[in-house]
Symmetry: C2
Subunit: 214 residues, 2 copies
């Protein structure tokens, strides 16, 4: 990834700011952008072909940022003895520190540009596979789950956290609650999945046994 300098960087940062605060990435206006960046409108054409091109490059910029972030998270997680709860905290902290990128990702994942949507989906799917691999290698989840199941849950979890991160960012007084909720979410998914093959009757019996130990 090229290191951006001068005007181009200013334009990308302006795009992130506007896309976060007042618009979406796909509804940016060229002159608004230039105004925000403090540049002449035509400077835009020195760096981008058109607004679509800008959108894609910004997304690339975000994707690179996120990839680096994920790599760092994995390192932190490896060095930590603790389990899922601190990881969840780290993840939310990361989103909090990358508010603009997070907001853009959430808005465009189901936004009006098919191109950006595909790119984001691919990115999230890759993250889900990585997460699943991590979880299984480190033995952080109940055994006996198939890889497919772990991937499926990872997929759900990543999307859940991504959207929940928007609330986490914008509602500071709810952050602790959101974090705990997320931990419950993950635990319930994995524990529930461990018992997937039980029928309702078998499950009820199991619960009854647990609640009234002999």
């Amino acid at each position: 990834m090229n290191v951006m300098t001068g005007g181009k960087l200013k334009l990308v940062q302006a795009a992130l700011k506007l896309a976060t605060e007042t618009r979406s990435l796909t509804s940016l206006k060229l002159r608004e952008l230039a105004r925000e960046a403090g540049l002449n409108p035509n400077t835009f054409y020195r760096h981008f072909e058109n607004l679509d091109d800008l959108g894609l490059q910004v997304l690339g910029y975000i994707a690179a940022e996120m990839k680096a972030g994920v790599r760092q998270l994995r390192l932190v997680a490896e060095s930590s003895e603790q389990a899922a709860n601190t990881t969840v905290a780290f993840v939310y902290q990361y989103f909090l520190e990358n508010k603009a990128a997070t907001t853009v990702a959430v808005r465009e994942l189901y936004g009006s540009s098919p191109l950006l949507r595909r790119a984001l989906e691919t990115q999230l799917d890759a993250s889900a596979r990585e997460m699943a691999e991590d979880l299984m290698q480190r033995g952080l989840i109940p055994r006996h789950l198939t890889e497919q199941t772990v991937v499926e849950i990872s997929h759900m979890t990543i999307r859940y956290i991504l959207f929940r991160a928007m609330d986490y960012i914008e509602k500071p007084h709810q952050r602790e609650a959101i974090q705990q909720e997320t931990e419950r979410f993950i635990n319930r998914q994995f524990r529930g999945a461990t018992l997937d093959q039980l029928s309702n009757e078998e499950f009820d019996a199991l619960v009854a046994a647990v609640r009234q130990p002999a």
Copy 2:
């Protein structure tokens, strides 16, 4: 809710169409709208104060539609003897039949207009409480769960389904898979929640016992 007629209805329908296909509700343009509706641009001002006003009214229109839809779903569910899986099918079918409203809701829930976001959040929270009440009254979920837990899971589920509905709408060949995934999601949440109070060790022991019955 007033029944809309003539030009106003045309404008709202045009807004839904454009918001679904090419834009978001908050980035609509007045003249584009009039063009799509086949009306003179100024006709807009006969019915709406400005574009924000239109957005709010469209949201109201959608909310009313959804409320009616939910009411109907509850009736269908009551008359049905079957459990969650058919309900999930009905819910997705409903979203499929209300593609425009669904798309708008998804896009604006984390969109750039705080006003619309609040309105949508309120609506979803109300739906979650209704869903929780329904589930508990009809005894469709494991007993011994607190109301708070059921509401929390309902809240998560509604958002999960709402976003997943976008994929359901747009990827016809994945519909069955999405539906089954959703059922697993819900089952795991409730089953997992039933075992919330177990420690990891207790849970592992339980799983071991289930997998190797004496």
